[in-house]
């Protein structure tokens, strides 16, 4: 533990040592490795799913077996599909740390230093089944429910709201045929979040996924489906810096968002997966006329990340904002970016991406802006900035533009830089240590994104950066 503390930053050490190693053997004893049709049928049967969902799963399995690995982007050849546990039924899961007392002292100390409230610490440590604040969230949920808002575990939503789920689930937005990992996701998805906001309802409070984090059996193939009806508004925030249990080294989640006419939705997430994870997540939204979609994301942790939140603007004057931070540390590849399809006139998009690379990590911005031939007067602004924290870390930018209409106004601005000795010296002459000075420059760099996060997430993000910077220089 001591070594990873120094080398990879405290939080990444926490992932590796606590959340993988300790529980790997426990978790693996009962559950099946590899994927077969019988496993897919078992998942569906265990969940008591309707036939149409089983059909989606089987179609997904067929496509998964057919489709090749992507040939672009990071190397995925070491990913062994036969080694992975795709699903573990509740009775096959052996709980890790049963109580707060069993959590190692150094982990507790790290949580304290991060300033994470005790209730949340327990969730992060995997002992959150008795999460004291749950009642608070329940009360909030009642308030939304009276307005017709549905905010539910995805598995439960399939049972309770089959007509809505069937209409949207992996149909228009992310069909199983989209790519190999979308197909895999369709076959083995489990858990996740379902949100339905009826027309005209404005949910002013951010909807948080905390309550969901307690759920047992939350797989690494969770499905998020969110429908924002006409004129409705909501903001959804997904769990901050949640290191995951379980030895599965593949995370292939799927997020599908529908923003109807004049709807307004913001999706914020901070992902921090364990260091040997392939995080191959698909996030996409379809935005109708005058609709407004905002993606705010922070990616840290995981070995290889391929994540490009996508907005498909299909109605006039639809707008998408993509704001993101990617942090690549030792042994990590953060291949992230944004895709926007401008499929209607006067649609606009704004993309701001910031990446950090450190200790040999690599951050790649991969983006796509596509303007359809019939879409007039499209405006898109892309800005990506990379900060490279040492000589052996890397950054790259792969922007792609497919502009088929010459009335489009597209701006792309990219910068890559290093923290200068002069910056650090300047702040040191004001009494800040080298580490504090570095953390300050980094926090300033990501400030435009972090200030869009709710306060408690912003604070945690900044603290996380400070911890990552400790002992990083000299």
């Amino acid at each position: 533990m001591a070594d990873t503390n120094k080398q990879g930053g405290i939080f990444s050490g926490l992932d590796r040592e606590t959340f993988e190693h300790r529980n790997q053997s426990d978790y693996a004893t009962a559950a099946q490795r590899g994927i077969t049709e019988s496993l897919v049928r078992k998942i569906s049967a265990n969940k008591n799913e309707p036939d149409w969902m089983l059909d989606i799963r089987l179609e997904g399995l067929r496509l998964f077996q057919e489709k090749p690995l992507p040939t672009w982007g990071p190397d995925l050849s070491k990913l062994n599909f036969d080694e992975i546990i795709y699903y573990a039924a509740p009775d096959e899961i052996v709980e890790g740390n049963k109580s707060w007392e069993d959590v190692p002292t150094d982990v507790k100390e790290t949580f304290e230093r991060l300033g994470i409230p005790e209730a949340e610490r327990k969730v992060l440590a995997g002992v959150g089944a008795q999460y004291e604040s749950e009642t608070v969230y329940h009360r909030l949920r009642e308030e939304w429910e009276s307005l017709g808002v549905i905010f539910e575990d995805m598995d439960i939503a399939v049972q309770r709201y089959p007509e809505i789920v069937q209409k949207y689930f992996m149909k228009k937005c992310v069909p199983p045929s989209d790519h190999k990992f979308a197909a895999l996701h369709a076959a083995v998805w489990s858990g996740g979040t379902f949100l339905y906001v009826p027309a005209g309802v404005k949910v002013t409070q951010p909807l948080q996924a905390y309550f969901r984090m307690n759920a047992k059996n939350m797989g690494q193939f969770e499905h998020t489906l969110m429908i924002i009806e006409e004129g409705a508004e909501a903001h959804y925030i997904e769990g901050c810096s949640a290191p995951k249990y379980g030895a599965n080294s593949l995370h292939a989640g799927c997020v599908e968002i529908f923003v109807k006419k004049s709807g307004h939705f913001r999706y914020s997430s901070v992902e921090n997966w364990s260091a040997d994870t392939y995080n191959l997540n698909t996030k996409r939204s379809i935005v109708e006329e005058d609709g407004h979609m905002e993606w705010v994301g922070g990616n840290m942790g995981s070995g290889v990340t391929m994540l490009y939140p996508c907005s498909i603007l299909i109605g006039r004057r639809a707008h998408a904002d993509h704001l993101g931070i990617a942090f690549a540390g030792a042994g990590q590849i953060q291949d992230t970016g944004a895709k926007v399809f401008h499929s209607a006139s006067e649609t606009t998009s704004n993309i701001v991406m910031k990446s950090l690379s450190k200790d040999g990590g690599a951050s790649i911005y991969r983006g796509l802006i596509q303007v359809a031939s019939h879409a007039n007067d499209v405006v898109s602004n892309v800005k990506c900035d990379a900060l490279i924290l040492d000589d052996h870390s890397k950054s790259d930018t792969v922007p792609q533009m497919k502009i088929q209409n010459n009335t489009a106004s597209i701006a792309h601005e990219a910068s890559a830089g290093r923290i200068s000795t002069e910056d650090i010296f300047y702040l040191q002459t004001r009494g800040l240590t080298e580490d504090e000075a570095t953390a300050m420059v980094v926090n300033g760099f990501i400030e435009p994104i972090v200030k869009e996060l709710p306060l408690e997430y912003a604070v945690e993000m900044n603290r996380l950066i400070e911890l990552e910077m400790e002992g990083s220089v000299g």
């Binding site: 040191q428 002459t429 009494g431 800040l432 240590t433 000075a437 300033g444």
Partner: protein
Amino acid sequence: MDIQLEIRDLTVAIDEVEILHGINLTVPKGEVHAIMGPNGSGKSTLSQAIFGHPKYAITGGSINFKGQDIVALAPDKRANLGLFLAFQSPNAVPGVKISTFLKQAVNARRRATDPDAKVLKIREYRELLEGTMDTLHMKREFADRYLNDGFSGGEKKKSEILQMAVLNPDIAVVDEIDSGLDVDALRVVAAGINTLREQNQMGVLIITHYPRILKYIEPDAVHIMMDGNIVNSGDKSLAHKIEEQGYDWLRA
């Protein structure tokens, strides 16, 4: 013992080329000393070396402050002993507000002075910051701006003076603060330094090419630096002589 910055036989090299060849200089708290010299004489090298810039290697001599040789200390340790360097052209730190940054600096200083010192409460800090800004006749919105980001030359200097006033050092080294300032901005900057000098007996080491600033901040001693040596020292009349005759008469 009285507080003073005491530089003895200091030699400094950049990339193994010696730039300063044995500087001797003592700046007591409460006094204003000026180092004057033509471009390339080593003035700014001295200021950076006093604070331990990694590019400048100290190859001999000592810098004593508050009873210890600070040559081996990290820049932040030197600062937290009560030294301050006002930069000629400070770097911008986008995304970091002056107020946020200064709060961390103030707390670092407090911690260094007293390990048991509590972090300043938000209200206490605001009183300190706003009180200081009022004294310096600065608009309070100034502290909400990102540190030196998009600042004009004059704003950068004001930012330096504000930081100096909040951190309240025993000795401040002020490097070419008058360069690129119009007379009005220069007055503001000089008034800030004079206020600190009068209220807190701050010692000042002014590094300057031109005598102009010395009309606004009256020095107790003037030292002339040429080619990495202090070649002449005297009272403020030396600055007048430079103003009238330039540096050529000092060249052998």
